[in-house]
């Protein structure tokens, strides 16, 4: 059960983290 939950969180977490990373990457330009 715990493994299944871990996979579920990874499935939704990876795209979300990718989106956050891309946004932060762009946001840094504001302070350069």
């Amino acid at each position: 059960m715990k493994g299944k939950i871990g996979i579920m969180w990874l499935v939704v977490g990876i795209p979300l983290l990718w989106g956050v990373y891309k946004t932060l990457q762009n946001a840094l330009k504001l302070f350069q």
Binding site: M1, V11, L16, V20, K22, T23, N26
Partner: protein, 459 residues
Amino acid sequence: MTSGFFSRESTVAPPGFNRFQVPPAALAVHLCIGQVYAFSTFNLPLTKLIGITQSAPGDWNLKEVGWIFSIAILFLGSSAALFGRWVERVGPRLSMFVSALCFGGGFMVSAIGIHIHQLWLVYLGYGVLGGCGLGVGYISPVSTLIKWFPDRPGMATGMAIMGFGGGALVAAPLSVLLMKHFATPKSAGVMETFVTMGAMYFIFMMIGVFSVRVTPPDWKPEGWAPSSQPKGLITSANVAVDVAWKTPQFWLLWMVLCMNVTAGIGVLSQASPMIQEMFSGQITAITAASFVGLLSLFNMGGRFVWATASDYIGRRNTYMIFFVLGIALYASVPTLGHSGSRALFTAAFCIILSMYGGGFATIPAYLRDVFGTFQVGAIHGRLLTAWSVAGVLGPVLVNYIRQAQIDSGVPKAQAYSVTMYIMCGLLFIGFLSNLSMRAVNPKYHFKGDTRAASDGGGH
């Protein structure tokens, strides 16, 4: 009633089920439908479908294309209000599936519209069909999450609604990547991107459909005992959806949401030109886009942080912070703009946008406190009409007042000052509405068996 795989009965969790499997199921849906916030990435490419590199005669213009988003938001609010009771009755699995069909299907119908260059098909596809997918998908996991996390409803719904904010962060770079991948000298790649995204979103939302579970009857978290006595605004009773919206509390909360969203959405819709005009010569269009991205990040983060905080400090207090701090920050914006401090200006708007997101994410738990869990999803759906109103009111206020200021000779850098003070006024109305909140009069409480009413749809 539905039977088989999609029925509410077949989604009842087995013994030993871990409730932390439900938030990712809800996130799978909200991460997809949150794409709507990034729809503007398609605006310019949709105006160059014939000319490819630039608009040609016969191409759609920006104003026409802008209606796609507006129709989608209008149908989001309407469908959430109309189908809320149905969502409560059939349960989260079937409603998530219908949402996936509508949202994914909306992309497909729009792709046909783009292919044959018929704008009405895009309005119908993404706007109407996709908009219904947005509305049904938005409310479908809310009451399920509240029932799984009666001890932390703010955190649970905050997680899901955070996904809606995060969906734009994923969709914006994804759309750009896909259009770049599919672009050829003869095509901007928009149609192919729509087909791919429609299929991807449908599959991703199906993860939520397969994994969502509802609570067994009378389930409660281990070691947690519901309070039998009402505590402040928190009721131990239930109010049915058709009765709820006849109570003053519903309309006070409607105003709370509408005012909070109007202030935030007005800024969000004009964030890019606003920072460029207020810091004229210092901020380019690219830097302004970074500013908008940062605001989206805080919009997303605020959904989780503020909704979770509301479990500890109370729902009314959380909104009090939104309104009091919001008024202080909006009032300080003109001064911060004149001072030339980009960092302070950005920080003020990041906090404002975190409270905008927080307002969306905290409202389901507020509704649960006031009206109970019985039909909280349907009540939430009806309350979302405040979002539709705010979606029109906010941008219109910011745009029209800015234009009126410029027309009367005010320099562009100062054209937003009056708007900011008007936003303070709106937030003050929200503050008063929140301050007026009292527990629902017991005469409105549901007297029957809530379980029988939910199962039989007898309402």
